[in-house]
Amino acid sequence: MSPVVMHTVARMMAPVLLLVSLVLAVRGHDIPGGGFVGGLMAATAFALQMVAFGRPAARKQLRVHPTRLAAAGLLVALGSGIPAMLGGREFLSSIWGQLPLPWSDSLKVGTPQLFDVGVYLAVLGTAMAFILGMGRGEDTTAPDSRA
């Protein structure tokens, strides 16, 4: 494939894929989707970047180290269970509330959504650790090539 076509497609698709991944994650509570598939979708966006522009570029696009992303995801998921404990209920019990919006009906928000965000981040981080790790062969320069 011509690199021009590849680069153009990758550049155009990346934001679309990321947007779709967020939509999937957010809507997941009521219609098909969720944090897991959302996180995977986001990973494909970065994988596409890597195929088109190389590993360093993809790593730069991700900005955060993948293992930190995964750790942050775990912490968010863990943290979403704590408010219930403060209220004297079991760890990870759900708490829901209504967020009034000026331009439309109020929006329901709850700790399970936060939990899903944690899953999203953890899945993205893990998938990127895999993908960036496997793509490592590319930037192994002279000192490492004897391995």
């Binding site: 969720g34 959504q113 899945v123 790790g133 496997m134």
Partner: protein, 769 residues
Amino acid sequence: MALSIVFFVPFIAAALAVLLTRLGRAGAGWVLAVFPAGLAVWFMAQVPAVVRGEVRSVSVPWIPYQGIDFALRLDGLALLMSLLITGLGTLVVIYAGRYLVHHEVLGRFYGWLLLFMGGMLGIVLSDNTLLLFICWEVTTFSSFILIGFEHKEDAARESAQRALLITALGGQSLLVGLLLMGDVVGTMSVSETIASAEAVRASPRYLAILLLVLGGAFTKSAQMPFHTWLPGAMTAPTPVSAYLHSATMVKAGVFLLARLAPVLGGTPPWEILLTGVGTVTMVLGALLALGHTDLKLVLAYATVSVLGALVMLLGQGTAEAIQAMVAFLTAHALYKGTLFLVAGSVDHETGTRDLMHLSGLRKHLPLTAAAGAAAALSMMGVPPLFGFVGKELIYEACLKGPGGWPLALAAMVGFGGMVAAAMRVGVQPFAGKTFRADKPESEVHEAPPSMWLGPVLLAGLGLVLGLVPWVLQPLLATAAVDIGGRQAADLKLTLWHGVTPALGLSAASLALGGGLFALQKPVLRGLKSLNLSRHGPEQFYQESLSALLKLSSSLTRLLQNGSLHQYIVVTMATLGALLGLAVVLRLGFWPPGVSRAILPHEVVVLVGILVAAVLAVVSKSALTSILALGALGLAEALLYVFFAAPDLAMTQVVVQTLTVILFALVFSRFPVKPHEHRFRWWTAALPLTVGGLITWTLLHVAAVPTHRRLADFYASQSVPGGKGLNIVNVILVDFRALDTLGETAVLATSGLGVYLLFRTRSQRKKRQV
């Protein structure tokens, strides 16, 4: 309330240790000693109330449905042990501040030492067997770290490993024993278990419980044949040996037996096992001490001997024996703590611990020498020191108990060995004239105040308590009652018992010890020529360890030989064998009825799957195989759509995409051998068999009528309970969120693992620097 604060103080101190040491290394010991000193003062203040019979306790439900409470109880026995732990702890912390002042990780040392203190206090204060077990393991682990503290030395690592293996195995045994006991009485509370002691003793599981608990107690308290870890533990810095491996931790096993004596004690197996093992340990430990010239090793074997004596007394179980046990435990903590600290000072000032090179030090270390001599006299059981009081009680208990004269004579031999050990450790280095240490004589001088304070105080206490033993009487009597019941209350501590058989035995043991001391060189040569380390428990330990290593390396060669092909074969063959077993035993060879006709569009997808599968296998190009696998996965996703599982289908599509990308990356970056197209029947047979078995099982699973209750519950509760229309997601993030959290953690961990595997060599180097 105050009691639970007390419980957490050492842990808080442990957390602060590194920070405080970083602020000021020289004063760190004095500052950190404030914590245990404060605790010791608090415990002292409790003495009057506890002696009156009041029991402080606190209980907070922790994991109620497992019967685990955060329950603490301060009775006489716990108070006695707590005073020893915090009192000695204070002196050891001060001592270590000077002893290890130049050590690079002094803060870490204090952290582990104080953590140990917390665990040890927890053991004696716990009123819940599982809380006790957790604290028990805290001490095991901190002891492991402290033994291996000089981890750059092979000997320290080897000793630490041995101590961990032996005591942690004993810990597992203890855990099972405690759980069995909890099951019999229906409670994990120690005091409630004591109240229903009859039920335990009458239970058919009594013997199993006893043996398992003894497994924990005997390993921890270094009874033969599990004693080999304790001499090894002398690789730890000397303050640790003084604190953990003579005065406190090794007594945890004795304490546990004392605590459970009202429950498990008084039966023939208990009496025989404890008396037998204790006596053998007492006599052999004392004699083995003569075979060494390292100050610390001599003390370690003498400690083994004392622990044997304490266990033997618990085995006797009479009121006199319990009283003697409590008194002797206290006396031993005082004099053995002193002697270890003295040995540490000698080592610190002269650079050697070898008895062959040490003599005439009294001129150079007068205070240390005085403390050493006083402690040695107490260890020998010479009046008017407290050790004498304890020893007389032991002889009397032996003579009055079921053991009678034979046991008393065995004790006399054990004490004879200890007398010789005491003279060698506490007197010999300081007496005489010549001095042949590694350092020139002029450089050897008295230890600094923080290092003579502990020994002098402890030795002084041994002398004062010997002169006025009745001061301790109320507390020791209360502790004895907690172990042996009401009849143990009439404890009389006096220095002079009159001319009794016990006094005669005392004199005999002194004479025997003197003789052994005079003959120490021939005895030493004799014991060395026997080469005991090649026989008995030591040999068993070495051989079982190497057998374990051999087993694990042969298993690794078999299962983890680095060939991906073999991993897959092993995994698939295991799965196939299990499924085959299920088919043969449960499912049968007849297919269940197919419940539903296959529709035309499904046939199309199925054919597509088949074609892709065959293509993936036969293709010569790796890229074609990858793409075929991707196509197969997408076709599967279509099947999910047909069967109304959009979430699954969506995930499958994304996963397939990523998998193809990953495969492509791997195949383009790493050298892959070209396909071998030699057909081997078993490489085809294994996957076909396993696949067939899976299909077969699934058909049977599908034929079982599903339980609707769970499905109906989720369907009806999804909106009111979970506030979501997507049942799958509600289950994942709400109803079963804890499972998801666990899976997410597994996922993240695997990601971390892959990241570490693929780090380049340069990155690895960078981390090491």
